[in-house]
């Protein structure tokens, strides 16, 4: 079980958190301007990056805070975000 650094509580087991999706996937402001195909792409095609991803997590069974971490999907290694250390 990976160990996730919550910016508020420090490192905690992954089962205390829920995954919130890719950091770069924002809900479009203008869905009506999307073609059906483009909309399907947004809804159903989840980015599955091999390498460094930035993703949302929420410390649901803890402080309930949302935060973004940078994770290498090949190794699960979590690295500091924006040069700032997220170590406890």
């Amino acid at each position: 079980m990976i160990y996730i650094p919550c910016p508020h509580c420090g490192h905690r087991n992954a089962d205390e958190f829920i995954y919130g999706g890719d950091n770069d996937q924002r809900r479009p402001e203008n869905p009506e301007e999307f073609s059906d195909a483009a909309w399907c792409e947004y809804i159903y095609t989840v980015p599955n990056v091999k390498g460094i991803t930035r993703e949302y997590w929420r410390h649901k069974r803890g402080c309930n805070r949302w935060f973004v971490i940078q994770r290498d999907s090949r190794t699960d290694k979590i690295t500091p975000l924006d040069g700032k250390s997220i170590d406890d």
Binding site: R58, K60, W66
Partner: protein
């Protein structure tokens, strides 16, 4: 039996007290410190089990957790299958018996299979039992009876199990010389250490190998170290604790057996360590020759262990068969323990000169460049046949013990589980850890460094390094000198049996796999070690290849003409040793599997005939509240009549409640609900439907505006958590600019619903202080009030279609409110109702239930709620997908009502609605019954259903397919009572 097997003195057993135990129905005695295996050897028991496939007699093979033969079933209160006798300390009252024997271990009918075993090679089942195809089930039943191991306990396991989370700087696995040395150096730095060892006492191989450190017995060094460690406050030391799994980010599971604690049987430690030191040692492997599985043939290290640690002689006349230097030391050790060692057979031409001289000096005949090709004897080995040099004529040597040393396999399992890739090492002809993928390091024998001196040095070094990486200053450690041990100098021979021989050389004792099976698999084209393993089942038994996997790789390499390194290993997976279900479940059994949520009225229901069950969100709610001797069906019918004719009372506390606050609350509701939320006045509520972004239904419910910037949202009980996650995610990720705050308040408010024609009378009787007449307090109004002296919020919402009030009070007042209303309602015949009744009443009204009519495919139009999607409304979550789906989809599953033509037939939930083609006898499914009841208010059965294009089929007939036969029903609007909603608006 005979006392002859127990030496007069020596060993780490305590001879002052005797322990009585039973094995296969006979009573034996042993001493504290004995394992079941050592006690059986002491009692002269050589056959302890039967092999899985051929039912060959088997004896004790090892002295550790790699045991494949001495697998026993514990009986009585400790009922547990498949325990290795070699790691099971005996205790008073132990009752064990062999697994897989019929009728007894001494006379096993299944062993007749042994005579046919030449006809049961690898893949036999796949090839033979394929015809006729549909008979596999029948064959399978018989095969399962003949094969297989212990039986699952009939009763729930006794004893308690617990889970414990643990954090430390350094986790050290193994308390042999390397582990203890690491613990000492890391411990002296002050770092927090967890030291775990699977044995009953620390020392590892020093417990049995009679080595010296600083010219003193090595166990004196162990005692000194352990004494120092136990005084350190920063060290926790566990015995009988096995690290079974190594997971991501240094998360290691440890199973601790706690026999000395009557209140707990096993404890699962979930350890998160900054650094891990693996000092798991090495496992000796056997050599392959014909009949190498006969009782009396065991690992040389095991024979040594039984002599020196347990004070028992596993035989009287021994032959040692080795391909490395370890065999010499063990031969001399056996001799010193009183076993007559007649010959030492070495496959190599050259051995360590000092060892050879020592063996010769002890009077042991050393036969170099020789091999054991076969053993004779059936229930006990009686002799071995050897060939030496170029002389292929066998020589026969009588013996009742063969001690085999085939080299050492480092226990790299945890390293491999941590992500490391094992690499082949020529020097020891086995696999050693590769590059570390996590913060772990292997030391000593489990890294292929097999001498005591290197174990001590590597341990000390690793302990310092690991502690330093955790931020602790280096400690000053000196590594003591110990007795010289030569490198093993192993000769990699994988199969000594003679090609074409009549008897089998076993490679996996657990699954009865022979070298001939491996050869056959390779002849049939299997090359990958993973495939050979699966085809032959080699390495797939209880020991999970601990005894066999490297030999399998070696043999495959030899046959294929490859280097073992290029064959690679099979994958090592958790768990390292078998883990009991009890340890996995921990305290989560029976009532604790799901922690029930309670409402203030739960106990009242229990006292008053409530039939409680889980009905969503882990709340236990009454399905109905039965009077004495009343059936479930009768209770539901009575309650449903009471709500429509008098008045009912219902515990609505489990309904989800979320408080939505902030200046942007309206904007937020507009984006998450399909309908418009502007212009809702304070004190009014509104019904809304929430969609997923892909257009599916998420949940429905009433949200009330309770002040300018505060909204009270209700959710289905089971969906409250999902909805909160959905809303929370939208707010934080997609719309962080909105000033909205969400607070789950389900557990803060007890809610009681009073519904029925007399609902208003009951509330007046309970002294409500506001005017709740139809004009003053309309449907979907909400207001603060006082009732029975309690401050409360009252709302007019309904799930039954009757005049209905929901009264919310702080949780602690819930039971008081309930009792006040019950008392006030007596004269009006107030009837407590359960959730089954509620389901019946909502079916009569055609109200949609999320999860039934609103399943994962239906959309808001399908459930007849299209009016909740205003045409002119701008974007909301799910709108774009809804548009797309509506354009492209025909044949939607639309909700309809069903009136069965047989008014007593209640359509079962989930029954398919079918159509028959004109010529086709095969029914095609066009829909599904979502709920059906006998309605006491209508005096007939009714149902709701999803039906393809159902809205265009009103008045037509539908066919309901059930196991009992086909029934017909008339399709109607999904509302059976009060279609205009006059009652609820009264």
């Amino acid at each position: 039996m005979t006392e002859g097997f127990r030496s007069r003195s020596g060993g780490r057993i305590h001879r002052g007290r005797k322990i009585s135990f039973q094995f296969n129905g006979r009573r034996y005695e042993g001493f504290p410190g004995d394992t079941l295996a050592s006690a059986l050897i002491a009692n002269g028991v050589s056959v302890v089990g039967r092999s899985q496939k051929y039912h060959r007699p088997r004896g004790i093979m090892s002295a550790g957790l790699e045991e494949t033969n001495a697998i026993v079933q514990l009986a009585g209160n400790d009922d547990e299958p498949n325990r290795a006798a070699t790691t099971l300390p005996i205790y008073d009252g132990l009752v064990a018996h062999s697994v897989n024997v019929a009728p007894s271990v001494d006379f096993d009918l299944g062993s007749l299979l042994g005579f046919f075993h030449r006809f049961i090679p690898a893949g036999f089942y796949y090839k033979t039992f394929m015809w006729p195809k549909d008979r596999w089930d029948w064959y399978g039943g018989i095969i399962r009876k003949v094969a297989g191991w212990g039986t699952a306990p009939a009763k729930p396991g006794g004893g308690r199990y617990e889970h414990r989370n643990h954090h430390c700087d350094v986790l050290i696995v193994g308390a042999g010389p390397a582990g203890l040395s690491a613990a000492l150096s890391a411990g002296r730095t002050g770092s927090r250490i967890l030291l775990v060892d699977s044995d009953t006492e620390p020392g590892g191989k020093l417990l049995s190998d009679n080595l010296t450190i600083r010219s003193c017995p090595a166990m004196e060094w162990v005692d000194d170290i352990v004494a120092e460690l136990d005084l350190m406050p920063n060290i926790i030391r566990l015995t009988r604790a096995t690290a079974t799994g190594y997971f991501a980010d240094n998360y290691v599971t440890v199973i601790e057996e706690c026999p000395d604690k009557p209140w707990i049987r096993e404890r699962l430690w979930k350890v998160r360590a900054k650094q891990v030191i693996l000092a798991t040692g090495a496992i000796e492997r056997t050599l392959l020759f014909a009949n190498n599985d006969r009782p009396g043939i065991m690992l040389a290290s095991a024979a040594m262990t039984y002599c020196s640690r347990y004070g028992v002689r596993p035989g009287n006349t021994a032959v040692v068969f080795t391909n490395n230097n370890s065999g010499y030391r063990y031969a001399i050790g056996l001799l010193k323990a009183g076993v007559s060692v007649t010959a030492l057979i070495d496959t190599r031409k050259e051995a360590d000169s000092r060892l050879r001289a020592a063996a010769a000096g002890s009077g042991i005949e050393v036969i170099a460049d020789a091999r054991v090709v076969s053993a004779t004897g059936r229930r006990r080995v009686s002799a071995v046949n050897i060939v030496s040099g170029n002389d292929q004529s066998p020589r026969r040597i009588r013996c009742d013990l063969v001690a085999v040393s085939g080299g050492w396999n480092p226990a790299i399992h945890l390293h491999s589980q941590s992500g490391g890739k094992p690499i082949y090492n020529q020097r020891i002809a086995s696999f050693v850890p590769g590059e570390s993928k996590q913060n772990e390091r292997s030391v000593g024998a489990c890294r292929g460094e097999l001498t005591l001196q290197s174990a001590l040095a590597e341990g000390a070094n690793a302990g310092c390094k690991a502690a330093a990486l955790c931020g602790f200053a280096l400690a000053d450690i000196e590594v003591p000198d110990c007795e010289h041990e030569p490198e093993p100098g192993v000769d990699p021979v994988w199969d000594c049996s003679q090609p074409g021989g009549q008897s089998s050389a076993f490679i996996d004792f657990n699954n009865d796999v022979t070298s001939a099976d491996i050869r056959l698999a390779m002849r049939e084209g299997y090359r990958s070690v993973e495939l050979v393993k699966r085809y032959t089942t080699a390495g797939m038994g209880i020991d999970q290849g601990k005894s066999s996997s490297v030999s399998i790789v070696g043999l495959i390499a030899e046959i294929a003409g490859l280097e073992p390194g290029s064959v690679g290993t099979t994958t090592y997976r958790p768990a390292y040793t078998p883990v009991s279900f009890g340890a996995m479940a921990g305290p989560a059994k029976s009532d604790l599997i799901v922690p029930w949520r309670r409402t203030p009225v739960t106990d009242w229901f229990l006292d008053n005939g409530g039939h409680l069950d889980e009905t969503g969100a882990q709340f236990r709610r009454p399905l109905f509240i039965a009077k004495a001797d009343e059936s479930a069906g009768d209770a539901v019918q009575r309650e449903a009549l009471a709500v429509r004719n008098q008045v009912g009372i219902y515990d609505s506390t489990p309904l989800g409640k979320i408080l939505i606050q902030g200046p942007d609350a309206v904007a937020f509701l507009n984006r998450v609900y399909s309908n418009n939320w502007e212009n809702l006045p304070v004190g009014r509520g509104k019904f809304g439907f929430m969609l997923h972004e892909d257009g599916r239904l998420l949940d429905d419910g009433v949200t009330m505006r309770i002040s300018d910037n505060q909204y009270w949202m209700s959710n289905s009980a089971g969906m409250a958590d999902v909805v909160l996650d959905h809303l929370d995610r939208l707010l934080h990720i997609h719309w962080p600019e909105l000033k909205v705050y969400l607070t789950p308040i389900t557990d803060q408010w007890a809610v009681v619903c009073v519904c029925g024609p007399h609902a208003r009378d009951v509330l007046y009787e309970a002294d409500i202080d506001i005017d709740i007449s139809g004009e003053a307090f309309r449907f979907l109004d909400t207001r603060l009030c006082t009732i029975g002296g309690l401050s409360a919020r009252i709302s007019r919402v309904t799930y039954t279609g009757e005049l209905s009030f929901e009264i919310a009070v702080p949780m602690r007042h819930g039971l008081r409110l309930w009792n006040i209303l019950i008392a006030a309602g007596q004269k009006f015949g107030i009837t407590p109702v359960g959730s089954d009744t509620s389901m019946l009443l909502r079916t009569e009204k055609g109200f949609i239930a999320a999860g039934l009519e609103g399943d994962g495919y239906a959309d808001i139009f399908d459930v007849g709620m299209g009016w909740l999607v205003p045409k002119e409304k701008a974007d909301f979550v799910g709108k774009r997908s809804l548009e797309k789906n509506r354009r492209s989809d025909g044949g939607r599953p639309e909700v309809v009502g069903l009136l069965p033509d047989n008014s007593d037939f209640v359509p079962p939930k989930g029954a398919p609605l079918v159509e028959y083609d004109r010529n086709d006898e095969v029914p095609q499914q066009v829909g599904m019954v979502t709920i059906g009841f006998f309605s006491p208010n209508l005096g007939r059965s009714i149902a709701l259903a999803q039906l393809r294009d159902g809205r265009s089929r009103m008045g037509q007939s539908a066919t309901i397919y059930t196991k009992a036969g086909v029934e017909t029903a008339t399709i109607c609007e999904p509302v059976f009572i009060d279609p205009d909603g006059e009652r609820m608006r009264d």
